[in-house]
């Protein structure tokens, strides 16, 4: 299982801030998330960046036991 972190609007769409999901790479973890959280989450995910730990990841990036995958929707950092 890999820890998935859902931030901002992604958290809101999923209804949870984190989840542990199966998958050997980032793409498989995300597919499991869409299956669990549904269409609204899928729409947010489609517009989001995905990081593996603190760096941008691709769907192919392999994930291990202590890795975290984060779903980062578009940002509105400031004023």
């Amino acid at each position: 299982m890999t820890r998935l972190r859902l931030l901002g609007p992604a958290r809101e769409a999923a209804g949870v801030a984190r989840a542990d999901l199966p998958g050997g790479c980032v793409g498989e973890v995300l597919d499991a998330a869409v299956e669990r959280f549904g269409d609204e989450f899928a729409r947010v995910l489609a517009r989001s960046r995905v990081w593996l730990n603190t760096e941008p990841a691709t769907r192919e990036s392999p994930v291990g036991l202590h890795d975290e995958v984060s779903v980062l929707p578009p940002v509105s950092g400031g004023c």
Partner: protein, 157 residues
């Protein structure tokens, strides 16, 4: 600010649940070999350009992801302006009332050109490349800010 320690080095990035105090960061940035200190404070403003009058903001992030990015931004600034003195970026998390600082950037440098440019780079980069989500509050409701852009990677800055 009570939960952060003033660093002894030249970099200071922090996320704060308590009100930011820009003058703490500005005073920290003064260096005997620097003739310029530029401080940017991004304050929550009352805005009525949309349907509502904004009365407060709320910032949400992941502390480790945001701090990692802030640290990287400071390193990029230093690589672009090699003579910077102090570089500090503090971002508030949680609810921020109108006129309170949401983010403060301070840069000191021997001369003002680098201080202005690096401060501008830092705040622009904070808004583009740091995972941070803003919720706008009005009387009786709230929503995620609609002025959103895809988070950019560091090599796009």
């Amino acid at each position: 600010m009570s939960d952060v320690q003033v660093p002894t080095g030249r970099d200071w990035v922090a996320l704060a649940e308590e009100p930011l105090v820009p003058e703490v960061l500005s005073a920290w940035a003064i260096r005997p070999d620097c003739g310029a200190v530029v401080t940017f404070s991004g304050t929550a403003r009352r805005s009525s350009t949309f349907e509502h009058e904004i009365i407060a903001l709320e910032y949400e992030t992941s502390t480790d992801l945001a701090l990692s990015r802030l640290t990287q931004l400071v390193a990029i600034a230093r690589s672009r302006w090699s003579d910077l003195g102090a570089v500090g970026i503090h971002h508030r998390v949680g609810r921020v009332e109108v006129t309170e600082s949401a983010v403060v950037v301070v840069v000191s440098a021997p001369h003002r050109d680098a201080a202005f440019l690096a401060a501008r780079f830092c705040i622009d980069s904070v808004k583009r490349a740091v995972p941070m989500w803003k919720r706008e509050f009005w009387a009786g409701g709230s929503a995620w800010s609609e002025q959103c852009e895809d988070l950019v990677d560091l090599d796009q800055l």
